[in-house]
Amino acid sequence: MKHFGGASLFLDRHDINTDEIIPAKYLTENSKLDLKPYMLEDLRLEGFDPASAEARAARVIVSRQNFGCGSSREHAVWVFEVNGINVVIAESFARIFRQNMFNCGMLAIELPSADIATLFAARPAEIGVDLEQGLVKADGREFFFTLNSFDRDLVRAGGWLAYADRKY
């Protein structure tokens, strides 16, 4: 199972799409690692610099509604994975992105808007995740989340391919 939690990166916008996370021109790469330098290159967000130390050190992303909409490219998940980001916490996700996260054994955690607002207000530098208890921990506070039991099994199995190969 992957490690979840660490330095945070707050992306304060709704509807961040997968073209912004990894532009189409990099889809010609045939290895996940080659995607590494291009994470969030086209993100439309005032003051955001994808090359900043904060973006490079991030282990957990926090964002708003409908994160990961648009193209089905799993490259958007891989570019996070190869940059050490295994968790995205948001108010809601686009379906394909969310499934791609769990399919790679990564975590797409949905929190109620009030919790997301609290997180954005505090902007904690570190965010912890306890998968077994379903807890996001930051600044001494705890936020409960629930996972679909199948999604939890995918994370435990290390992804959909390993799971499906065993079962089907």
């Binding site: 709704h14 509807d15 799409n17 073209d19 912004e20 532009p23 189409a24 021109k25 889809l27 010609t28 790469e29 045939n30 290895s31 996940k32 086209d42 439309r44 509604q65 409908n66 909409c69 648009g70 193209s71 089905s72 490219r73 799993e74 998940v77 809601s92 996700f93 686009a94 379906r95 394909i96 499934q99 791609n100 399919n103 790679c104 996972l147 679909n148 039991s149 199948f150 999604d151 939890r152 099994d153 992804g159 959909w160 391919l161 499906a164 190969d165 079962k167 089907y168």
Partner: protein
Amino acid sequence: MGQTITEKIFAAHHRDSPGGDSVVLDIDVVMCHEITTPIAINDLMERGMDRVFDPDKIKAVIDHVTPSKDSKTATQAKILRDWARRHAIRDFFDIGANGVCHALFPEKGFIRPGYTVIMGDSHTCTHGAFGAFAAGVGTTDLEVGILKGVCSFRLPQTIKVTIKGELPTGVYAKDVILRLIKELTVKGATDAIMEFVGPVVDRLSMESRMTLCNMAIEAGATCGVCLPDRVTAQYLWPFIDEQYDSLDQAVADFKRWHSDPDAVYARELTLDVSSLVPQVTYGYKPDEVMDAAELEGTRIDQVYIGSCTNGRLEDLREALRILAGRSVAPGVRGIVSPATPHVYAQALSEGLIQQFVAAGFCVTNPTCGACLGMSNGVLAPGEVCASTTNRNFNGRMGKGGMVHLMSPLSAAAAAVAGCITDPRKYL
């Protein structure tokens, strides 16, 4: 309790309930293109799992960048080509036979009512136009689909979209879907199916129904779907004529997939299109939509007619209602990409290609082309394109470019005017 078409398809393909509200379905058609599949193939090879569940249920095409533009895209094409050969995948489409996946595969009769279809491409929702459940997936889902013929989904909710009234002259399925996305927003249909019904849908051609379903994903929907009827049967007839004694029999058989009258919907939405006017997008999200007239005079550098949304014959014919006998405005670059070789050949024999050339358009081979800015038709920073495609995301057609989505008629009007305009004044 009645069922929707999607619930019926799910029930007929149920393989497993692995927990939560997720289900695992048997998949009838796994479609592949050269951008998202090679990495799946490489991964399967590395894991020692280079197998396919059923070569006849896998369809593959090189369409996004073709002919290849550099070594990297040539390598992607080669990985897919070698793999198709290795596994005896007969329905593999390469140069000369290739075209935009979501236009090509329906044309080949691969999609039938009641089917389950996946592809590593978000606009797979297009194929719901045939009364199928068709969903875009990521590469891992694609790998499992290739290997096992299954895919997981959450139990679907359905939004019933009733489209009524009469489509006015110069207003098309593209305008209808843009208007609906504006209403639903880019997340309004997330985790849901958009089921398009009503008198307007009944009268739409399969091509227009595909345009409608194509953009369901832009409202977040898993799939768009139309109920299969006589129009569907007529389109599919060359492929199903041995299966049924008559068209009537096919139409009657298709009815088993229709949603029951007492089916339960998560939401119902009605749009009367009688007063609808041509629609265009103005921002970087497909729900940022306004009347074409409101953007009147917005200067453009390029016009693009093509893609899985609007690169079919009907679309070329409609664009020529304005372009025939007129010329592209000075300083504007016109590009048209017929979506498939069939569309190209038919357009040639009808004299459509000649008319595009006479109007000053560049005609490309069938390919995704400018739609995703990976090969030809890329915009320079600050440039603006009037486009019949489906996405206006930041950087989509080139870094710093702006894409305005619209119907082929509106794009043709923009080409002639040199700016966004209400196309109806040219009719």
